[in-house]
């Protein structure tokens, strides 16, 4: 049990190292960004469907708040998901039946499947927020904006999850996680 807890703690450390940026981003969005700031302008220029808003003569300032709320909620969901999946793998790796030398790398398939499920859920969450009718402000996001949000979110949250599982995977299963066996042998890790 203590090994599982240790794994979870390491996983949390890894996840948290990369969670800092989304948390800062969320805080900034909720605080109300400076309209002259670069990220505000970035949303205005690349995320929203500028042409459509322009045709309707809707200024970005009207849609900004709701859009930021949408992005905030999406990032919170992705953060929670990354933590959950990272911890599930880290804890669950202790129950993988690696009972002999050379068996760990067979579980690479399991990790790939698990990671694929994670990425599919991430994609599902992103699409839910940006494409579904649940959030009215999703309609402000253009195709380019959806692509940008999807790409950045997929990459970043995969990295976050990856760091979490690299650190948190049970030592004897590390060969199942890509490059995790390159971690230096240390009593701390």
């Amino acid at each position: 049990m203590k090994h599982i807890i240790r794994s979870c703690v390491l996983s949390i450390i890894g996840l948290s190292a990369l969670a800092i940026f989304p948390i800062m981003f969320i805080t900034w969005l909720q605080a109300g960004p400076n309209p002259d700031g670069s990220i505000y302008q970035f949303f205005n220029d690349y995320i929203v469907h500028k042409e459509r808003l322009g045709k309707f003569d809707i200024p970005f300032s009207i849609v900004a708040k709701n859009l930021f709320n949408l992005v905030t909620n999406m990032n919170i969901s992705l953060l929670v998901l990354s933590y959950i999946m990272g911890l599930v793998w880290s804890g669950g790796s202790h129950y993988l039946n690696v009972d002999a030398p050379g068996k760990a790398k067979l579980y690479f398939i399991h990790w790939i499947i698990f990671t694929s499920i994670f990425m599919a859920i991430v994609l599902g969450i992103i699409l839910f927020f940006t494409q579904s009718t649940t959030f009215a402000s999703a309609r402000y996001i253009g195709v380019g904006g959806t692509t940008i949000i999807t790409t950045i979110s997929l990459i970043y949250y995969f990295l976050m999850y990856y760091v979490g599982v690299v650190l948190g995977t049970a030592r004897f299963v590390r060969s199942s996680v890509l490059f995790a066996n390159k971690l230096p042998v240390s009593e701390l890790l």
């Binding site: 090994h3 202790h94 129950y95 039946n97 690696v98 009972d99 002999a100 030398p101 050379g102 760990a104 049970a170 030592r171 004897f172 590390r174 060969s175 066996n181 390159k182 042998v185 009593e187």
Partner: protein, 515 residues
């Protein structure tokens, strides 16, 4: 403290075999000298014990080498530093085909003495070839031993003399003798050797720091004697064991009453008697299987040597038996001391033997090109690679010959452990109503009761489902799986300061085999 254990006869040798495995599991004292007494030099049991003794000492030497491989002082594996004479067996009567007549020089005896001798010994006994033991004739054995035990220059007896000298020097010395109360060498040697030791002690005026203990095996096995070709032969007849025992017990009763020879005596037997399938009068064919009650004698010896064992001035006689049911359980195995749990250590040793023999040993055997496929695995990296790495050659030398010798030696020893425990389990209850389910052995071993040399055959490889049965290997309810072993070897702390080389892996694996 200096400890000495002497096994007399075939039974003594068999008890010593159990004692060696117990010492491998960490139940023994810091240091121990082992010797055997048997006129039957080629006795199969004695030979087997000698081999095991050699293996133990060699492996321990390899794995407690501060320069190369070191288990560290804190490791229980091969904890006891066992020493012995180059020839660990003392023959009371040396030479090819000795007889009592020749040895006692009957032709030179005075007539009155000769007459007495003729009364005491019949012609068969006088002329019996004693190279294969005293053939259940303690009267012959006693005479032979008494005649030869006074030689201080004898390598065996010199150790006893040195031990007594050490006691006189202030160091505590404990000597323990194990033998059977029936049969030949054991019956004749137990009391005589003990009295001889006591005599030497008195001669040297050693009154303190020297303690003598003994384990006396009452009848615990029987066998069927074939009728053909036995006429005129002297051999131990099982139907006579009980009578012999009765007689011997009466003798010892009187002896202990009037003369405090032993500080502690451990008595044990077995009922119903274990049935041995093979009968051999002596020699290398007399290779009886290990039996459970012998373990009691070994544990008695280890208890005697324990620091917690406070030896009183009064003679103490201990007896032990199993539970009343027909089933032999782990709870029937007594603790050596409060800090040494025999059951746990032996169970640990068995699990260690299994995991090493089939799981980890094969991974470490071969050249580096074969082994390197494990180099990215955590257990290998932290326990083997780092510790066998040569900074000069910038390579891991696990595939080198001198390391492979240790790896293979350990694999062989693990196989011996598995054979020992399987054989003991099969043979103790064979053809009786008793059951012994200390371990589950059917999935990895095959038992042939009538075979002398290879009663138990261990499978070379196990398939996945057989490996899965590891959790039921030791039936102590612990449910320890190979997965737990793997997890443990990846997480157990390494004693970085003292452990070295393969000692790291061996100790961690051993420690990982307990829950």
């Amino acid at each position: 403290m200096k400890n000495f254990v002497v096994g007399i006869g075939g039974t003594g040798a068999k008890c010593l075999e159990h004692l060696l495995y117990c010492c491998a599991s960490g139940l023994g004292p810091e240091k121990l000298w082992i010797g055997m007494v048997d006129q039957d030099e080629a006795n199969g049991n004695v030979s087997r014990t000698k081999i095991q003794l050699t293996k133990y000492m060699n492996l321990r030497r390899s794995l407690r080498d501060e320069a190369k491989h070191d288990l560290s002082k804190d490791s229980s594996l091969f904890k006891t530093d066992i020493t012995s004479n180059p020839d660990s067996v003392w023959l009371p009567l040396k030479g090819a085909d000795p007889t009592l007549e020749e040895f006692l020089k009957f032709q030179l005896l005075k007539p009155e003495v000769l007459g007495l001798m003729n009364c005491l010994y019949d012609p068969f006994e006088k002329k019996q070839n004693l190279s294969e033991g005293f053939r259940a004739r303690p009267n012959i054995g006693a005479a032979a031993m008494l005649a030869t035990t006074s030689d201080e220059k004898d390598p065996f007896w010199s150790q006893i003399y040195k031990a007594i000298d050490s006691a006189r020097g202030g160091e505590e010395v404990r000597v323990f003798i194990i033998s059977s109360i029936f049969g030949g060498t054991g019956a004749s040697g137990f009391a005589n050797i003990a009295r001889r030791i006591k005599t030497i002690q008195k001669e040297k005026n050693v009154t303190t720091n020297f303690h003598l203990g003994g384990a006396l095996m009452l009848p615990y096995f029987t066998y069927d004697v074939p009728e053909e070709n036995m006429e005129g032969e002297l051999f131990a007849k099982p139907e006579e064991f009980l009578d012999q025992t009765k007689g011997a017990l009466e003798y010892y009763s009187k002896l202990f009453e009037y003369d405090k020879i032993f500080d502690q005596v451990y008595v044990t037997g077995w009922d119903p008697l274990s049935k041995l399938k093979n009968f051999n009068m002596g020699g290398n064919l007399q290779n009886n299987p290990p039996l459970f009650s012998e373990l009691y004698a070994a544990l008695g010896a280890l208890k005697f040597f324990g620091n917690e064992n406070k030896i009183s001035d009064n003679q103490e006689i201990f007896h032990i038996g199993k539970n009343d049911s027909n089933e032999i359980l782990w709870t029937d195995i007594p603790k050596v001391s409060n800090s040494l749990n025999s059951k746990e250590n032996i169970a640990k040793l068995i699990r260690f033997a299994f995991s090493y023999n089939w799981m980890y040993g094969p991974a470490l055997i071969g050249t580096w090109s074969k082994i390197k496929k494990y180099q990215n695995e955590n257990w290998f990296k932290r326990l083997v690679y780092k510790n066998i790495y040569n900074d000069e050659t910038k390579s891991c030398e696990i595939g080198h010959e001198y390391n492979q010798e240790v790896v293979l030696a350990m694999k062989e020893y693990c196989e011996d452990i598995l054979k020992w425990i399987s054989d003991m389990q099969y043979s103790t209850v064979l053809s009786t109503d008793q059951k012994m389910n200390l371990i589950l052995s059917s999935f990895f071993s095959e038992y042939k009761a009538k075979s002398t040399s290879n009663r138990v055959t261990i499978k070379e490889k196990l398939n996945a489902s057989e490996k899965n049965q590891f959790k039921e290997l030791v039936l102590d309810g612990k449910n320890l799986k190979l997965l737990n072993i793997m997890s443990n070897i990846c997480y157990k702390k390494i004693n970085k300061k003292e452990q070295k080389g393969l000692g790291v892996f061996m100790d961690i694996l051993f420690r990982s085999c307990e829950q």
